[in-house]
């Protein structure tokens, strides 16, 4: 089990990547910053960075809009 934004619980599985978490949460905004256990993950690594079990994943969306 992993926790997203100190709020949402997701079932963990072997090989789960940051991109998998984003897909699962339907997080599509381009302006995001992601950290896994307080370690910043660069955008180019989302599809390869593996999230460990029990991880705290923070997906920080930057406010924008008209």
């Amino acid at each position: 089990m992993i926790t997203v934004n100190n709020k949402h619980k997701l079932d963990w599985y072997e090989g789960m990547t940051v991109q998998d978490v984003l897909d699962k949460m339907d997080y599509v905004l381009p302006l995001i910053t992601v950290s896994v256990n307080e370690q910043l993950v660069q955008g180019v690594d989302y599809s390869t960075y593996e999230v460990p079990d029990n991880a705290q994943v923070n997906v920080f969306h930057l406010a924008h809009g008209g």
Binding site: N5, N6, K7, Q19, L22, D23, D26, Y27, V28, L29, P30, L31, T33, L40, G43, V44, D45, Y46, S47, T48, N58, V59, F60, H61, L62, A63, H64, G65, G66
Partner: protein, 671 residues
């Protein structure tokens, strides 16, 4: 959602001079080579400009599937596993030859001399000709200025004319173009000093400081926007599909936050079928974000201009989301109501939100065709909604009632039709008499307060906190929310005071932002620094965040006092309708039952099991309003306002605005 790409970029293992490097697909070879620690000479490359490979100095040898060839590294995108050699004998020979040609033409330009040295070129006479320019600040035809004019401010005033050795920099017809906006981008990127900037406008204290930070913003727009919000490409319309994904797009008078038909009105459809000019457009010539869009040749189907082809300015996000709020998932309808609102001088947000309220009232049986002049005003009744708009403009029929706005309709229908005033207040989305703008706020208490406390009513200009709260969970406590409700409106007020665009602030995010913790990152520190430097460059006084907030708070508190004086700036006027803070109907509760039940159990501490939906609605409403009032108390306290939301005398003194005229406002209202 065709416009959103979720898959991450590919990476390739490449070899550069025998050294292994991992490169993201599409990275230009020059960057990969430099990142790997190898130096390659170039004259025409600039980090903030689109590469075009004109100087040819960055030639490298690339081996793909055993085949070797020379490429210009600056505009060669890596798309596979390649072997690169940056200094073969052939490469070195070509570079030396090129450098000697440059040296023969511009022997005294420092940038050329440096390149010649790097390439081992020393013979100035080899290619000397009658066109040799001895000026140490000669134009070397690198093209930086031409590209900056095009990509920084989207103007294309500068260009090249002539061929071969006669190629030269010019404006159209060799004359000074009156359309040049004197942005100075060309001078900023010129590597030789051939373009000199004469600062003679408005007497700024430090024009160079303003230019430096202005160009930092321009460069970011040119390089990052296309991978972020695509403001130049589709404007704020990019939010349509984003908001739908996050359950925040208003649908059917804010009852729901998404709809399967959103794909019919998203930015992808606008781009491919409606936006016609295929160019960025701005509020003013030279804006480097240029997010305005237009639909040309749109044939109107209704109203006084029926059958005519017109140009429509927009639609932007709020207008499209107004469409979904009325159940109008059809861009023909959205563009048409956009045009007529603009033509009649009606705000698209107020029209759409009021119309959505009317439609819900119709479906609830509060009003019937008898009241609407025979119009069946259900959600999705687009022709009927347009007819209301035309009636409003003509001052006829039911449109006159719609034109009164949501607040007056609530009062009227309660009084004249005997409708339940509580229900009308629950679903009529207005505060202070202004209709809500187009975001669903139910899961964001900070946004609810940001909207409802806003001076002129629930609009997002003053506070757009919806992601902070509902999605990021970055301001979980009441005090966190109060702090955000303190600084965010002051930021936005200050931007407004200086005429700085809020979209420039946080719609293109600099890479440095990832160096900050979330609550600091939310302020976009680098951009705020740019704005503060504009102030310093103009006025001559340095500015920090504290001083900026202080300046803003003086105006902000004065505005609140004026609002108070006119009977709006009190707690009573800061309370949003139920639908803004949670579900108002059984249908709404059931549509997100799992979410609400979970919150009831975890946040309220009540087991929803065995309770009717009606009972759960009451429990949810009471909890959320209580929570909302706690946030309001904390926000008032942080702002230095009393329990009723009025600035205290102490706060006015602290801000230095306890002048007799201001104090008189306070006293006259209290009396």
């Amino acid at each position: 959602m065709a416009t959103i790409t979720k898959a991450g970029p590919k990476k390739y293992e490449i070899s550069i001079n025998g050294k292994a490097a991992t490169v993201v697909e599409g990275t230009y070879l020059l960057k990969a080579v430099m990142d790997a620690g190898f130096n390659v000479p170039t004259l025409c490359h600039h980090k903030d400009l689109t590469p075009d490979g004109t100087c040819r100095l960055c030639l490298c040898e690339v081996e793909v599937n055993g085949k070797k060839r020379l490429v210009t590294a600056c505009n060669y995108p890596v798309r596979g596993e390649i072997k690169v050699n940056t200094s073969t004998e052939e490469v070195k020979k070509h570079r030396k030859n090129l450098a000697e040609m440059y040296l023969g033409r511009w022997p005294n330009v420092e940038a050329i001399q440096n390149i010649a040295k790097l390439c081992g070129a020393t013979d100035k006479e080899k290619y000397k000709s009658e066109l040799t320019d001895e000026n140490p600040k000669a134009c070397i035809l690198c093209g930086h200025c031409v590209r900056a004019c095009s990509s920084f401010v989207i103007q294309n005033i500068l260009g090249f004319a002539g061929r071969g050795i006669k190629r030269h920099l010019t404006m159209p017809f060799g004359e000074i173009d009156p359309n040049c906006i004197e942005c100075t981008s060309c001078g900023y990127v010129c590597p030789t000093g051939a373009i000199q900037v004469a600062d003679n406008m408005n007497n700024p204290a430090d024009p160079e400081l303003i230019r430096r930070h202005g160009m930092r913003i321009n460069a970011m727009m040119a390089t990052l926007d296309k991978a972020q919000n695509r403001m130049r490409e589709v404007g704020t319309a990019n939010l349509v599909e984003v908001m739908d994904s996050y359950d925040l797009l208003p649908v059917h008078n804010y009852r729901f936050g998404k709809h399967p038909d959103t794909k019919k009105i998203d930015s992808g459809v606008m781009k491919s079928q409606y936006f016609t000019q295929d160019a960025a457009d701005g509020c003013w010539l030279g804006c480097s974000m240029a997010c305005a869009k237009a639909v040309d040749g749109f044939e109107l189907k209704t109203g006084p201009y029926k059958g005519q082809k017109v140009i429509v300015d927009g639609p932007e996000y709020e207008t499209a989301a107004g469409g979904s709020n009325m159940g109008g998932f059809d861009l023909d309808f959205i563009v048409e109501y956009n045009f007529y609102c603009d033509t009649y001088g009606v705000d698209t947000i107020s029209f759409a939100t009021t119309m959505a309220f009317v439609m819900e009232a119709f479906e609830a049986g509060i009003i019937t065709e008898e009241h609407t002049g025979g119009k069946t005003l259900k959600f999705g009744a687009m022709d009927e909604a347009l007819e209301c708009l035309h009636e409003m403009a003509r001052g006829e029929g039911f449109g006159v009632e719609v034109g009164q706005g949501t607040r007056r309709l609530k009062e009227k229908w309660a009084k004249e039709l005997g409708a339940d005033p509580n229900f009308l207040n629950d679903i009529g989305m207005e505060v202070k008499g202004l209709e809500f703008s187009e975001y669903v706020t139910k899961e964001s208490p900070a946004q609810q307060a940001g909207y409802a406390m806003a001076m002129k009513g629930p609009q997002h200009d003053e506070a757009l906190l919806i992601f902070f709260d509902a999605i990021n969970n970055q301001i979980p406590t009441i005090e966190d929310k109060a702090e955000t409700l303190y600084y965010f409106p002051l930021f936005r007020t200050w931007f407004g005071l200086l005429g700085l665009c809020k979209l420039i602030w946080n719609d293109v995010i600099p890479p440095s932002n990832s160096n900050y913790p979330p609550n600091e990152a939310a302020k976009i520190p680098e951009r705020v620094e740019d704005f503060q430097k504009f102030y310093e460059g103009m006025i001559g006084e340095p500015l920090d965040e504290e001083k900026m907030l202080q300046q803003s708070a003086r105006v902000f508190n004065l505005q609140r006092l004026m609002s108070y004086y006119f009977g709006r700036g009190t707690r009573e006027e800061d309370i949003p309708p139920l639908r803004a803070i949670g579900p108002a109907t059984v249908e709404e509760y059931l549509s997100r039952e799992e979410r609400y039940d979970k919150q009831m159990k975890e946040d309220i501490g009540i087991d929803p099991g065995g309770k009717t939906v009606e009972e759960k609605l009451v429990i949810t409403r009471d909890f959320r309003y209580k929570h909302y009032n706690q946030i309001l108390d904390a926000a008032y306290k942080r702002r230095g306002w009393d329990h009723n939301g009025v600035p205290t005398v102490e706060r006015l003194k602290e801000l230095g605005i306890d002048i007799p005229e201001v104090m008189a406002l306070l006293k006259r209202q209290e009396q």
